[in-house]
Amino acid sequence: MAQILTALSAIFEFKMLFFIFGGTALGIAVGALPGLSATMGLAVVLPLTFYMAPAEGIIILLGMYVGALYGGSFSAILLNIPGAPPAVMTSLDGYPMAKRGEAGRAIGISTLSSFIGGILGVVCLIIIAPILAKFALKFGPPEYTLLAIFGLSAIVAVASTSLLNGFVGITIGLLLATVGMDPFTSVPRFTFDRPELMSGVSYVPIVIGMFGLTEVLTQSLEMSSTGMAIQKVKKIIPGKNDLKKIFRRFLPSSIIGVLIGILPGAGGTIASIISYNQAVQMSDEPERFGSGIPEGVIAAESANNAEVGGSLVPLFTLGIPGSSPAAILLGALMIHNLTPGPMLFIEQRTLMDTIFIALIVSQFALLLVGLLMAKAAPYIISTRKQIMLPIIALLCVIGSYALQNSYLDVGIMMIFGVVGFILREFGIKPPPIILGLILGPLAENNLRSTIEISDSGLIVFLTRPICVVLLILITLVIVFPIWQKKSKGRKKV
């Protein structure tokens, strides 16, 4: 109880509230701009958090995460272009509403749905995370090895269009993680006799390069503006009928969002797609979906914001990010020497309470700031690329430099920006590479520990119950998309 009170008093200081509201507002602006994503925004801001206290740095990133997922609905509704990938389902009904002159109504419904879904997601996080953390105390090296493999397999299966390319991305990421001194024998690996590489490749510049600079280079190939007339936004506050619809619809959508968020690699896009499809199936008038009905916006937005809480469950308890933005948050924890897992809830209880309370306050910030920014939404989303792209490029350079005042980090950022651009040409996307880089040490160190301490070698993976469950999950996660693709191919024939 004392820790909760300490956390409450920390949150309601002016500086913390500034970071929460500021982070949320920045996230909304990032999410609203087509072409920018929550992951990119978090990647670029990540190095700044190095100069902050752990609570402040993580809170500002969480605010951005919450804001960006909601902000994507602005351009989805006004332009039919999702500002962030999870807003793709919002545009199906949000844009038709805007075309009828109800842009303000759609944004108001989106705001309230995101708020309520987000609150439910955080409540689920607060309930589930400590339970899962206690359970994770039973994990040993074999369990952590398979957990890392499960996280990597899940992101390939869910986040990659091609399984092969996804596994190539993960392997590249795992190889990058082996650069530096071997933790068991101090033997230098892939260092090319360079002292700067002895401690490994720095994660943050790679993230900024692959999510930030790659996007700038990709977007500079296509500079055309939307050319669309943007709706004025009026009458934002939802009426009584819309409020009834929101309260009727938010619970199943939010639960879907939380459950999908817990799955490593799934993310807000999958959550909003599944929630929307479920809403269509459960509706008495499914044919009306897509014509501009509030239920479509509610289903999409409740789910994609509830997903935030869900994705933080495996992140904080097991160190496995539930989404790409959560992978960036994992980087933030690493920067501040915080190891996710059960010990985080024991040794850093006050910090975790502060984060949980900050997440709830972020939802209120989303509601307040979102409604205030709604009127300015047309001006935000019409920011020209000629201004936006150089600012992002500048942030990439300064962010990389600021971490250690090192030009090496700037160089790494640029190299991986170009590498990410080239790999994207061949269908190899950044998330599997980054996850391989993050989870590589977890996988390798625990695999080697398992083999060294176990008398039965690799058979130990079949003798421990949690390992058997994880093996089954890994198999399902890899086999299911292959089976799905084959059955789709058969249906076409």
Partner: protein, 164 residues
């Protein structure tokens, strides 16, 4: 007359085949690098430091072969989506070049001047021609970022040759 040899034509048949071949060559290079790891202290451990990298190199080689098979079966396609005849491709290259130059000049010119020149040049490159927009935006961004990074977050940014 088609001057491409049959071998080259087959390798660049499509993206999967090309990337598979490149990755296979990379895997072979990885095997060479791993074989060069010092083996001191490895004898005292059950698992040597080269175990995991060898596993990964083997996995990469296997994936490359699968990509090659996939590419061999797939129809002919372009290797790159980039059109080297389009000015947009060169514009992207120029953006990267300016970014590299900007990074090199950061210590000499200092952050504010360097960022200002960077913003002006990139906006011009990307098609902004109105100086009433170019200059104020460049000024606001360079000064604003300096304020945020150096003053608020206390990040030590280079001041250049202008300041002792």
């Amino acid at each position: 007359m088609n001057r491409e040899g049959p071998f080259k034509k087959k390798i660049i048949k499509n993206k999967a085949l090309f990337s598979g071949c490149c990755l296979l060559a990379f895997s072979a290079y990885l095997y060479y690098l791993i074989s060069q790891f010092p083996d001191t202290a490895a004898e005292y451990r059950t698992i040597s430091p080269s175990f995991f990298p060898y596993v990964l190199a083997t996995v990469l080689a296997a994936l490359s072969l699968l990509l090659i098979v996939e590419g061999w079966r797939a129809p002919v396609g372009s290797i790159l989506s980039l059109d080297l005849n389009q000015k947009e491709t060169y514009r992207t290259g120029a953006l990267l070049l300016i970014l590299i130059i900007f990074s090199f000049l950061l210590t000499t010119l200092g952050f504010i001047v360097d960022a200002f020149l960077f913003m002006v040049s990139i906006q011009l490159l990307l098609g902004e021609r109105r100086f009433v927009v170019l200059i104020p935006v460049a000024l606001a961004v360079s000064l604003g970022m300096y304020f945020i990074f150096a003053t608020l977050f206390k990040v030590p940014l280079p001041m250049g040759v202008w300041v002792d």
